[in-house]
Amino acid sequence: MAYALQQLVNGLTLGMIYGLIAVGYTMVYGIIGMINFAHGDVFMIGAFIGIIVITALSGITAVPLGLLAALIISAALCGLYGFSIERVAYRPLRGSFRLAPLISAIGMSILLENYVQTSQGALERAIPNLIPGGITLMRQDGFAVQLTWMQIAIMAVTLVVLAVFTYIVTKTPLGRAMRAVEQDAKMAALLGIDTNRTISTTFIIGSALAAMAGVMFLLYYGVIDFYIGFNAGIKAFTAAVLGGIGSLPGAVLGGLLIGLIEAFWSGYATVAYKDAAVYSILAIVLMFMPSGLLGRHEVEKV
């Protein structure tokens, strides 16, 4: 019981990070119908910007302020990355054959990894735990369930970010424009929506969310390298598909589920096969629900 509770806490923390990345995949897929394979690398760059800012500010400002600065600066710069990636690698190919932007995305992903590898080095980079300690939720048979301050901070930040994001998408003119372009880009243009600009904004927002996930990943694990984007990217992509690609709540739900599966599998079976467990469950879900857990399946008149 206590052990399960511990896996739940760990799984939810990891799941929130996946969820934040997955939102970016699903947004881009929704609006231009492509899988942005470079998204995981934006997450990785976000983590690197985080470590640079945190290192630069350490000793100068208080820790919470430093972390907040890392989140904001990383989000802003990665927003710029996302904007540029779309401009350089995808927009020129719009209207081209379907696989073209996909190939371009893979190229962009390799480019970003190599760029970070050469500029930041191929070795792992580490930071100490900046928010040590925590609270003990319960004790049972000599096992103490720990909820660390770091986990609380990560969950709190994710919830705030997702709340703001949800508000933007559901209630503001910008969010409406994004959804309109997703549903019928030509009609949106007929109503005066600058679709290119809306697509750029989508990339900026998605990349900013991935950047914040990157910073939190850095804080949680304390170690990053230029290759973390690959694994986390595939997990988050899986989360988006599991939740139903194109569905924003689905992306968050999928992220949480994958975090939980990983945590429980590692806790009860073996760490070695945790990825296999994730993909097996994805395969099973898709067999019964081909459009994912919250994917669209209602009938619509067109």
Binding site: R179, Q183, K186, M187, A189, L190, L191, G192, K301, V302
Partner: protein
């Protein structure tokens, strides 16, 4: 009368297929102009070419004297042209309210309340369905929503592509009545595509006939209504 829309010798293609051949047409301030023609004549193509979707391959489109032929679609909309397009194209996963808000996006919501009041008075049905997802509306309700959405931007030129499609005769009458009164009271300029040639020609000040992508006839509504070839081609079994 000042010129609102001047289409000059445009030709439009879908790949190798030519859909419009050297079409020229004028719409003046305060006019209701109708475009009639058989299925596949190119009426919807003309309406969409005005918005650059697809772009005219040759010729020019002038809106109040400004050449808009090469403008991005959203810029054309922001000049004050609105369209209720063929196929309605409501946003299926948005509520009726959100669809209407989308229509008002151009006017930056300044006149949102007054426009909304006008649209809901015209289509009380939309008020009943205000929170419903547009994709689940009936065909006729979607048509009302598409027209309402176009009106929300307080357009100076309104393009209506078969607004009567799928609507009950009573509602058609209502819509045509509304177009007439908007035109009389606010001077709204309208370009109207209709299958229902009889009613359209009665409503319109002038009309054009499109055959196989080319204009073959033009005249006042009454003139066209009186022409035997029009009666034979578009009005038989008419009301």
């Amino acid at each position: 009368m000042s010129n609102v829309l001047s289409i000059q010798n445009i030709s439009t293609f879908y790949g190798p297929i030519q859909a419009l051949r050297d079409v020229s047409l004028e719409v003046n301030e305060g006019e209701i102009v109708t475009l009639i023609g058989a299925n596949g004549a190119g009426k919807s193509t003309l309406m969409m070419t005005i918005f650059g979707q697809p772009r005219a391959k040759s010729g020019a489109i002038l809106y109040r004297g400004e050449n808009i032929t090469a403008l991005p679609t959203f810029q054309i909309a922001r000049r004050g042209i609105a369209q209720s397009p063929e196929g309605r194209r409501v946003f299926p996963r948005m509520s009726v309210e959100e669809n209407l808000l989308m229509g008002a996006q151009v006017v930056k919501y300044a006149d949102y309340d007054s426009q909304l009041k006008m649209v809901l008075e015209l289509f009380p049905r939309l008020e009943e369905r205000f929170a419903q997802r547009a994709g689940t509306l009936s065909g006729g309700e979607q048509q009302m929503l598409a027209i309402g959405r176009a009106l929300m931007s307080k357009p100076k030129l309104l393009l209506l592509d078969e607004p009567s499609l799928g609507l009950a005769p009573l509602v058609i009458k209502q819509i045509f009545g509304a177009i007439r009164s908007l035109n009389r009271e606010t001077g709204l300029t309208v370009l109207l595509v209709e299958q229902n040639a009889n009613q359209a020609l009665r409503l319109a000040h002038r009309g054009y006939v499109l055959v196989n992508g080319a204009l073959t006839m033009a005249g006042t509504g009454a003139e066209l209504l009186a022409k035997p070839e029009i009666r034979a081609a578009y009005l038989e079994g008419g009301h």
